[in-house]
Structure formats: structure tokens, C-alpha cells
């Protein structure tokens, strides 16, 4: 019987929360289908970070170059680890998961399931639930236990925090690199406002349509005493600075009120705001996934709504 292997990521020398969630699930599945659990970790801090996890075996690749994620080295290291019998690989759907999941599946001629949000056993079969079509649909997929990679969306289920004492294995790092990391660029502290500190966020998505319309959002935010944040396409279009971006590759925010205007609610966006105290979504599409996480919603036109709301707020204050 091969392992259920979790590829763990380290953050500041500690195993990341999304990786811990996977270890919990690997154990739960492993008990049902009678498979041992293994965890893989990279970098000089990996041995310390992995030694108390709830796994039977831990494979560590200590290379200093892996202190930060390195696509080529990490892939080669993982392929080395996979020489041990493995039936199922779980990877968080982070940059690492997006990099290694599909390529390792292809190299091993294994099946692959992406964007997983749940894993369960049905009889003898592992069944994954995945989010597709920007979160508008879910898919139920059978995962063969004969070699498969599943990439899992962080936060899909809680970690149980259980500890253990895995047998530690050191795996040597591959050399002869075609790829070199020139530098790590830390997140820009910048001199812009810090949206993570706002009580109220007026967050705009592609529904804003034109950069000229941002003024409406700024006026609304001013009337509310809040700040303007946005989804990724607004940043990629160059309409707002990156410091305003909420989501997977932006900031995680938890304001008292998150006003999502013209944001569809793609999984990568939800990841950054779903824990806000109060979420109000305005989207012309009644089927937009944002309404599944919002507390209140309206199918109104954001461009019409913003000035009217601003006026009402200003009238009230005056």
C-alpha cells in the first residue's frame, strides 16, 4: 500500500495552515482506506517543522535554495520522494500547487484533480468535490487510488491540530539547475493606504468598467469613512495600485463591512475576504457566486447605486 502524501509548505519556518488542513484530511482518508500518511517538506527549516506532525513518515529536502519556493528544485525533489510507494498526493492550490500538481501528474502519468474543496470516501472510492467555472459550478469527481494528484483550495476544511512523531527521512536535493532564483521580492509595504486596517471597504471589481468610474467609489468610501479596495483585474488593468487588491495574491481583509461591488466572487477573491463581519454584495448577475458568501445582496447596477448611496449618506451626515 502506498502513502497518502501531503506536500507541505513552510511559512516563517512553520508548516502553513493550508498544509495542516491537508494532513488532517490525509489521516482521515488514510484510516478509511488503510493507507499510511506521509508529509514532504522543503528547505533548511523542514526537519524541525515536520517532526511533530500527525504523519507516519516525513520526507525532508534540506537544501538552502528551497528556503523559498523554487519550481525546478521542488519538482525534482518531489519526484525523488515519489520513488517511495505513493497512491495519492495532496498539495495546496497555492503557487506551488499550481506549479507542481499538474506537471508531476503528467510526468508520472497519473490522474489529477484541481480546485478541490472536499474529499470523502464512498465505498472504496475517493470522491473529490471541486470548484469550477469561477465558483459557479461544483464537480464531483472520482479519484483513483492508484496514483493521483489533488490540489486543494486553502481553507476548505479545518485542521484538527493533531500531533505525532513521523519517521524522518532525509532526501537529497537534486543539482544541475536550469533555473536560478535571482532575488526574492518582498510584498510592497508601499506608501499607499493599508486596506487591512479599514473598518469599511468599498471593494470594486471588473463591474466598475472604466477607471473614470473609480471616483464614484472614492466618494462613496469617503462618505462611509472607509477605503476603496478591489479585485485583481482592476489592478492588472492598472486602475488601482496592487496594495488595494484583495484575495489569494493580494491582501486578506476582515473589515466590519465589505461592500463588494461588481465582483463575481471567484475562489481566489473569496479567499481574501470571506471572513469579513458583514458582506454586502451588489452584482447585476443573480447567479454570481459572491452571493453565496454575502450576508445581504442586490442585483442592482453598481454604477447607478454608488452616487445614490453616497448622496443618502451625505444627506444623513449633514
Amino acid at each position: 500500500m502506498g502513502h497518502i502524501l501531503v506536500v507541505a509548505e513552510l511559512e516563517n519556518g512553520r508548516v502553513s495552515d493550508p498544509s495542516r488542513e491537508l494532513i488532517t484530511k490525509a489521516r482521515e482518508l488514510g484510516e478509511q482506506v488503510n493507507r499510511p500518511v506521509a508529509v514532504a517538506g522543503f528547505g533548511p527549516a523542514a526537519a524541525d517543522a515536520l517532526q511533530n506532525l500527525d504523519a507516519d513518515d516525513a520526507y525532508v529536502v534540506k537544501d538552502d535554495l528551497l528556503a523559498e519556493y523554487h519550481p525546478e528544485l521542488a519538482e525534482a525533489a518531489l519526484l525523488n520522494i515519489l520513488q517511495n510507494p505513493t497512491d495519492l498526493v495532496l498539495v495546496p492550490n497555492t503557487t506551488m500547487g499550481m506549479d507542481l500538481g499538474a506537471s508531476v501528474a503528467a510526468r508520472r502519468n497519473w490522474s489529477m484533480v484541481a480546485y478541490c474543496t472536499d474529499l470523502a470516501i464512498d465505498g472504496e472510492t475517493v470522491v473529490a468535490r471541486s470548484q469550477v467555472y469561477g465558483g459557479k459550478l461544483a464537480a464531483e469527481v472520482e479519484v483513483p487510488l492508484t496514483g493521483a494528484v489533488v490540489t486543494v483550495i486553502p481553507g476548505s476544511w479545518p485542521s484538527d491540530g493533531r500531533r505525532g512523531s513521523p519517521t524522518m527521512h532525509e532526501v537529497s536535493a537534486p543539482s544541475a539547475l536550469n533555473m536560478t532564483r535571482r532575488r526574492v521580492i518582498e510584498a510592497d509595504a508601499g506608501n499607499d493606504v493599508d486596506i487591512t486596517r479599514a473598518d469599511i471597504l468599498v471593494s470594486v471589481g471588473r463591474g466598475i468598467q472604466d477607471p473614470d468610474n473609480l471616483e464614484l467609489a472614492e466618494e462613496l468610501a469617503a462618505a462611509l469613512g472607509g477605503m476603496v479596495s478591489c479585485s485583481r483585474p482592476v489592478v492588472d488593468a492598472g486602475w488601482l495600485p496592487r496594495s488595494r487588491q484583495v484575495g489569494k495574491s493580494g491582501k486578506t481583509v476582515k473589515p466590519k463591512v465589505y461592500l463588494a461591488l461588481g465582483i463575481s466572487g471567484a475562489p481566489e477573491h473569496l479567499q481574501g475576504m470571506k471572513d469579513a463581519d458583514l458582506i454586502i454584495a451588489v452584482n447585476s448577475d443573480a447567479n454570481a457566486p459572491i452571493f453565496d458568501v454575502a450576508h445581504y445582496g442586490a442585483t442592482a447596477d453598481m454604477l447607478e447605486l454608488m452616487p445614490i448611496l453616497t448622496e443618502k449618506l451625505q444627506g444623513r451626515a449633514g
Partner: protein, 253 residues
């Protein structure tokens, strides 16, 4: 530098996704180019303008991909290639990747760009699958791609705004998150004009064995909760918002 841009079209999310018997009626739906492939195309065109490169747009003929390829030609690619065969809209990503990998292998591209993901890649992202099948250097969630001789330099986004700059020997494949500039726009008139003068090259192939995953069903997620809806009248909606903020004591003044 010989660059390929792998493109595919995906169901248009602007339309309602009506599931029938646990599947999407793909033949009846309208398709649009995957937005991240559009970003990859733009990045390739910027590289061409910056350093000179020969750019080929490649798509598998699963339906009407001609407009997508003519649009790429109108935007400035040197060549458009359609892999033709007995392919339906339900071609899996795995099968698509196999066809694309085989084509790219034969053509010996120095650099292959494609979108970081697409909304329908349930069985793996094209970028990773093609790179894995070809066994070449690759990275995903990438932007700011520049070329020099037989190497590429690029930035990979980690998370929360942290990034790293890498340098990679060709042949290489990169999954593009966003181009340096928003994708350029071409008018329909320009696309029509190109359609009259340019041709799409066709390469024949067929799919072989690939690992499969069995999709039991597609469905609209039964969400844990759904927003309480206030309708579509802006006056009413604005009043509701003011009232709830007032109730939560979040209004100033």
C-alpha cells in the same frame, strides 16, 4: 526566439450555466477565449515588440476556434495553428495537453506561454500538464517575462504580494498570470480583414491514451448560506444599506 502561445476557449460565464443531467450542454453554449490565455498572448506580443520573436498562436480545434486565432493574427502573431482531428467540446484537458505537447515537441519552440489556469481545468492546468509531458523547465503564476539569448527571465508570484525573480534556460514553459499591460484590443473590422488575407495552418493529430478522472456530476453548489436579497431597485437597495449600517452603529455623524 520561437514562441508558442497555447490558447483555448471556455464557456462564457456571462451566460447562465444550465446543467443538464449532471453535465453542461457544451454544444449549445457560447465560448470566449480563456482570459489568462489572452494575457499570455499579450505578453508574447510585448516580448516580440521588445526583442523580436516569431510568435505562433496554437489551439486545438474543438469547435469554432477560428475567430480566436484570427484575432491573434490581427493582434500581431506571425502564425496561427489549429490542431485538427476528431475532437469534441468534451475533450479533456489531459487530452488537449497531449496534443499540444506533441505539436510543441515537433516544432521545437524556445518558449511556450499559456494562461496560468482556465475556468474549466478540473483535470489539471494546461501549463503544468504540457510542461510535464514535455519534461521541460516551467513555472506558473508568472508575469514580467523578458528574453535574452537562450534564456528567459520572469517574476513568479508567491502569495500575499511576495514574489521572486527567476532565470530559466530554454526550452521553457510559463503559465502567465497577467501581462505587463492589459491585452490590446482589435476591432472586428480588423479581424475580418485578416480573415480574408491570412490563413490558419492545420496540423492533424488524434488523441491517445491518457489518465482519466470520472466526473460523476456537475451541479450548482448548494451553498452553506445565501445572501438575503434586496432586489434590483437602487433606491430600495441604498435605503437597506444605510439602515443596516445604522443598526450596526457604523455610520459617522
Amino acid at each position: 526566439m520561437k514562441i508558442a502561445v497555447l490558447m483555448k476557449d471556455v464557456p462564457d460565464l456571462v451566460e447562465d450555466l444550465e446543467v443538464e443531467d449532471g453535465a453542461l450542454p457544451l454544444d449549445e453554449m457560447s465560448f470566449v477565449p480563456s482570459e489568462w490565455d489572452d494575457q499570455a498572448l499579450e505578453e508574447a506580443l510585448l516580448i516580440k515588440e521588445e526583442d523580436g520573436a516569431d510568435v505562433t498562436a496554437v489551439a486545438v480545434d474543438t469547435g469554432d476556434v477560428d475567430t480566436m486565432l484570427y484575432t491573434a493574427l490581427a493582434k500581431g502573431v506571425d502564425r496561427a495553428v489549429k490542431i485538427v482531428g476528431d475532437f469534441s467540446r468534451s475533450l479533456t484537458n489531459r487530452q488537449r495537453a497531449q496534443l499540444l505537447a506533441r505539436y510543441c515537441q515537433n516544432e521545437r519552440f524556445d518558449l511556450i506561454l499559456t494562461g496560468v489556469q482556465a475556468i474549466d481545468d478540473l483535470d489539471g492546468q494546461i501549463a503544468g500538464l504540457v510542461a510535464g509531458l514535455m519534461g521541460i523547465g516551467h513555472a506558473s503564476v508568472v508575469r514580467d517575462v523578458h528574453v535574452a539569448q537562450d534564456r528567459v527571465r520572469f517574476v513568479q508570484e508567491y502569495s500575499g504580494g511576495k514574489m521572486a525573480e527567476f532565470d530559466l534556460a530554454c526550452p521553457a514553459l510559463l503559465g502567465i498570470q497577467a501581462a505587463r499591460k492589459p491585452p490590446r484590443y482589435v476591432t472586428i473590422a480588423k479581424v475580418r480583414q485578416v480573415q480574408k488575407s491570412a490563413e490558419i495552418d492545420e496540423v492533424e493529430d488524434s488523441v491517445g491514451e491518457t489518465p482519466v478522472v470520472t466526473v460523476r456530476r456537475l451541479y450548482k453548489p448548494e451553498s452553506g448560506g445565501h445572501a438575503e436579497m434586496w432586489g434590483d431597485d437602487v433606491e430600495t437597495v441604498a435605503n437597506h444599506i444605510v439602515a443596516i449600517l445604522e443598526e450596526k452603529k457604523l455610520l459617522r455623524g
